[in-house]
Symmetry: C2
Subunit: 332 residues, 2 copies
DNA sequence: TTGTATGCGTTATCAC
DNA sequence: GTGATAACGCATACAA
């Protein structure tokens, strides 16, 4: 016998409607019958079928998180953060890692419709500048952006203050006397890459310094190897950099490894600063100086903002800027 | 106007049943009408509502993956592997990381019922020996175990040959002349921990060596710090180990860092072998010797086995043992 | 080949 | 307070 409302109702000697009310609007049903129903529910460990609920109410309590890959602690933590908040609120999370999805971001939108997903957390700045707005336009459900384009109007977003972070890092290196600073950035057309590189350029301008364009290499955020090859390329310059600003810790560690292999003394010959402060950063040897960004919190706040928009009709658009710290360890 | 079967049917001048058939059993509908319907479907970019489909057919095309945490590349890759296979087959994945779920494994089961999840991939050996079987008993849907208890009967499982891996690693160290070998294991009651430690004991027995019980420390798989503290504890022994066998790369890297901080020369003073071969292992400095386990494949195979059980009525129970390699880098 | 009718498990709108 | 009943969007057995 299936364990559904009908069977509960039968056992309690009431109608399904009453069972439904006992669960959703307890105050509308007589205490005595309510107790009786809830006892049976408890006893049979019954829980309403979410699909039927979804069909009936239009609310599925499903949230999607879009990340580039889970093979990076930063996004892993972000996902864990979203998860823990959403679960506590009775929601479930579907994670799309679009690198495994074959970069078919639009396929994800299709899925969202089919699954009646209620809200979307877009992370990873993996959406490129030119297709980005087009994609957002096709989405009809509430969206929260994480670490993405805060300039986008009409959309709540949570992001870390990477402009402040990059600024601090660049200023620090310059104040340490570095004149040739290599930049290992993410992919060229990505939003965060764009924003961070502008921050660096501004610092250079403030200090009346020139950013050597040959010192800017675009890599892949998820690839240690791309950090390593970037460093090798940088060191081949006629005037090789004496310090590296990497746009995330993966790139930084890749570069660090390559630098060590080249026999460079860290930080004497070459200083390196990363970004994110993944757990491994503190445990690398030498420990990586980096910008700490609170990825777990990032996830929790993103989830919270999204649920606010879902449940409060007139929830305002919010832009949350999470503070960042420059952590100086052994590579500076 | 909602875009559903009814509206498609109206536009095509047919009944909803015909639309449904055109989508699911194309051969049953007249080519002409089929073309007409599919054209409209294409045009409106229509896709059937999965909830309604689920309610009607009982098939939701939802699979759940249970991991301890995503804050570990091993599980991140595993998840990505599952994801990519499932997506290609039209399924979606819900990931439960139970450390964020407050270790309420049974709560997950509840969810599985509510969401009508069709199949379950259990990973991470996070389920402890004593509650494990009890949990499995409560699950009524097909389950595939990943890196878990292959002894469990009646359940397909994919696991890496960690017994072979640990054996190779232990033999290698002994053959190198190490007599005092420290073990940094996972939590004591976990299944993989148990299995791996037995493998090590067997090697010691084969070589007529004694495993000093003071040289066995139980740590946390997800914690770099626990690897570091384990090492510190080990080195305080009257006869400190000259080699370390760590049960995953996180623990190994934590230990490595602590060893370097103690001023030990690697591998002269202390050799270290990890397990998993996460991307960072090759990029650590010194590069970590470890057992390579194909985590992405692990995910794909797990997903494949699960779908086999879901779609083929008499799919046999399979136990897949993925081969493992000992990769000797700079810490041995 | 196509249409009608029923059911899937809920919620919500009515009456009672 | 409670019980029928329609509706949600789709699949399918049965009729035509």
């Amino acid at each position: 016998m299936p364990i559904n409302m009908k069977s509960i109702a039968a056992q309690a000697g009431v109608s399904v409607a009453t069972v439904s009310r006992a669960l959703n609007r307890p105050e509308m049903v007589h205490p005595a019958t309510r107790e009786k129903i809830l006892a049976i529910v408890e006893d049979l460990n019954y829980a309403p079928n979410r699909f039927a609920q979804g069909l009936s109410t239009g609310k599925t309590k499903l949230i999607a998180l879009v990340v580039p890959t889970l093979n990076n602690s930063f996004f892993g933590q972000l996902a864990d953060g979203c998860q823990s908040y959403l679960i506590s609120e009775g929601y479930n999370l579907i994670i799309y890692s679009y690198e495994e999805y074959g970069h078919k971001e639009l396929g994800i939108i299709h899925d969202i419709d089919q699954r009646m997903i209620e809200g979307l957390i877009l992370s990873g700045s993996g959406f490129y500048l030119d297709t980005y707005q087009e994609m957002l336009n096709k989405i009809k459900i509430p969206v929260v952006l994480v670490e993405n384009s805060p300039e986008t109007t009409g959309i709540s977003s949570v992001y870390i203050d990477d402009v402040a972070g990059m600024t601090m890092a660049a200023q620090y290196l310059i104040n340490q006397g570095h004149k040739q600073i290599g930049i290992i950035a993410g992919p060229e057309k990505m939003l965060t890459t764009d924003r961070r590189i502008k921050a660096v350029r501004n610092v250079f301008k403030d200090y009346h310094l020139n950013l050597n364009e040959k010192h800017v290499i675009f890599g892949e955020y998820a690839s240690l190897e791309s950090g390593a090859t970037a460093l090798q390329k940088l060191m081949k310059n006629r005037k090789p950099p004496t310090a590296i600003l990497a746009f995330n810790d993966i790139l930084a560690i890749g570069a660090l490894k390559a630098a060590i292999q080249l026999g460079l003394k860290i930080p004497k010959d070459l200083a390196i600063i990363g970004f994110d402060d993944i757990p491994m950063a503190a445990y690398y040897s030498p420990a990586l100086s980096t910008i700490h960004s609170p990825s777990l919190d990032l996830g929790k706040h993103a989830a919270r903002l999204l649920l606010e928009k879902l449940t409060e009709a007139d929830a305002p658009i919010k832009k949350m800027l999470l503070p960042v710290e420059l952590i100086l360890r052994e590579t500076t």
